[in-house]
Amino acid sequence: MKIKFFDLGFKEAVALLALSVVALTLLLVYNMATYAMPAIQKFGLHFLSTTTWDPVKEIFGALPFIYGTIISSALALLIAVPVSLGIAIYLAELAPAWIREPLSFLIELLAAIPSVVYGLWGIFVLAPFLRQDVQPFLAKYFGFLPLFQGNFYGVGMLTAGIILSIMIIPTISSVSREVFLVVPFSQREAALALGATRWETIRLGVLKYARAGILGAVILGMGRALGETMAVTMVIGNRPEISASLFAPSYTMASVIANEFTEATGDLFLSALIEIGLVLFFVTLVLNIAARALIWQVSGKMKGEIRE
């Protein structure tokens, strides 16, 4: 009888624990919405289009942070997507068997490095390198573009974009690689039989077939980049200004929360920061769902197991 009792309660008990996950998530949304409400009510939609961030006058506009987040992530994707595809193609289609394991292991290592260590390296290695070697070069030869004008300090949008790209490369390349492996071999054979070279076979038989999945991988990477906090905070300069130049310092949504949360004087200030967090939450939510739908399209089943 004791056994039966346990049996009866057991299923319900584990179900309850599983449901707690759902409860927690709902609570998260509820809490954040509640605390963000003062700011939402006060600023409405203008919150997303105002550039003023004045804690003293209690006027808060999130545009500089939205701008900083978008541009740094866009820059990161610009660099990371081609490189990640190159890696995925190399590992899935070109590399000899003995290189695959060690090389993919090393690239996975990049994903295991904590964000704060990236930031540390960014401040003391990447930023000086950019300031001394790269940015002068860019200013000299490409200074006619507004992208590369103005003073450079090493820290700024460019540095943040570069560090973000390194951090999302493992994500995009490993998901892409898994998608490539799902492409049936008959597709490659079809291209080969037409006389395609190795690269043409990959282009025609693999990339085209997998393009929805590749897009999914890219969107996953994008979601990652948008939410990345520490490394970006440490190298972006943390100035809420909108500038066309990549050399200029900037500020992202995650960074402003990280930096100013504990200094927030007044409820409205805190509320504005939490509202920014809410925006971040919904944006990453939408991106994650879109990414999974796309990947599922190619692989035919919910790849919840794809490591991110």
């Binding site: 049996d7 057991f10 299923k11 008990a13 584990v14 179900a15 624990l17 599983a18 449901l19 996950v21 759902v22 927690l24 998530t25 609570l27 998260l28 809490n31 954040m32 605390y35 490189v83 990640s84 595809l85 190159g86 890696i87 190399y90 590992l91 070109l94 090389l103 090393l106 690239i107 295991a112 490095i113 904590p114 964000s115 704060v116 260590v117 990236y118 930031g119 390296w121 401040i123 290695v125 190795r198 690269w199 043409e200 948008l226 939410g227 990345e228 906090t229 520490m230 440490m234 995650a254 990280a258 949360f261 920061l273 967090g277 939450f281 990453t284 939510l285 994650n288 919910m302 991110e308």
Partner: protein, 283 residues
Amino acid sequence: MNIYKKRQIVNKLMCALAFLCAIFTLVPLISIFGYVLSKGITSINLDFFINLPKPVGEPGGGMGNAIVGTIILIGLSCLWAIPVGVFGGVYLAEFGNNKLAATVRFTADVLNGIPSIVIGVFAYTLFVLPMKSFSAVSGAFALGIIMIPTIMRTTEEMLRMVPRTLREAALALGISQFRMIVSIALKTALPGILTGILLAIARIAGETAPLLFTAFGNSFWHQSLGQPIAALPLQIFAYAISPFDDWHRQAWAGAFVLIFIVFLISFISRFIIGLRYKFPASR
């Protein structure tokens, strides 16, 4: 044969480019490891491990409390995240072919994709505001949320891999489902589940953002769970952005220790999973 030569050249070029991408990505990896190793190892000494942070200028400062703090935070997080994650995974694997389970899985994926700073904000609203204080508890709550999706997913996967025949044999012997799951399925899947837990721990050991306004950091040894507590990543962050060379030096040392811990845990987890395949599940 002009067109063929041209296509072959493009072919060789693109293949070389793909190879270069892979190699090029190793550069930052080597750079980061190189700097952390070289700059960190020179600053590691006994002081570092057993001393508290000292004001600038005073020699012999360390991160002893931060290391202990991280261990405490990990322990606390595991305390609540492991039961929820493992048993949640049990539910999904054993009873989970319905809409409810699908919702749980979806939600776990959502939770997994939330930026960790947002989770920190959540923990702040739930714990720090009512308690009117930063605390280890709030930090452990935030870290636990980050752990749960990974543990749940791995547990479910590993349980599903337990052969059906094993389960049916147990049930046919008259063992109740509860005992079957606990004594047999879980035991069989244990190495894989452990791996999932260790990987989750490796991930949260390095997390900084969610601790910024929950655990908050502390210059002293841990006193009470309801008080702010130091953590290794927080200390590294604080020192890195400071203007003092000595603190920078210690930041590298901290990074060295942190990376060492994270990779040690990862390797142990791989080792466990390796053992699993050497000694198959059937006994």
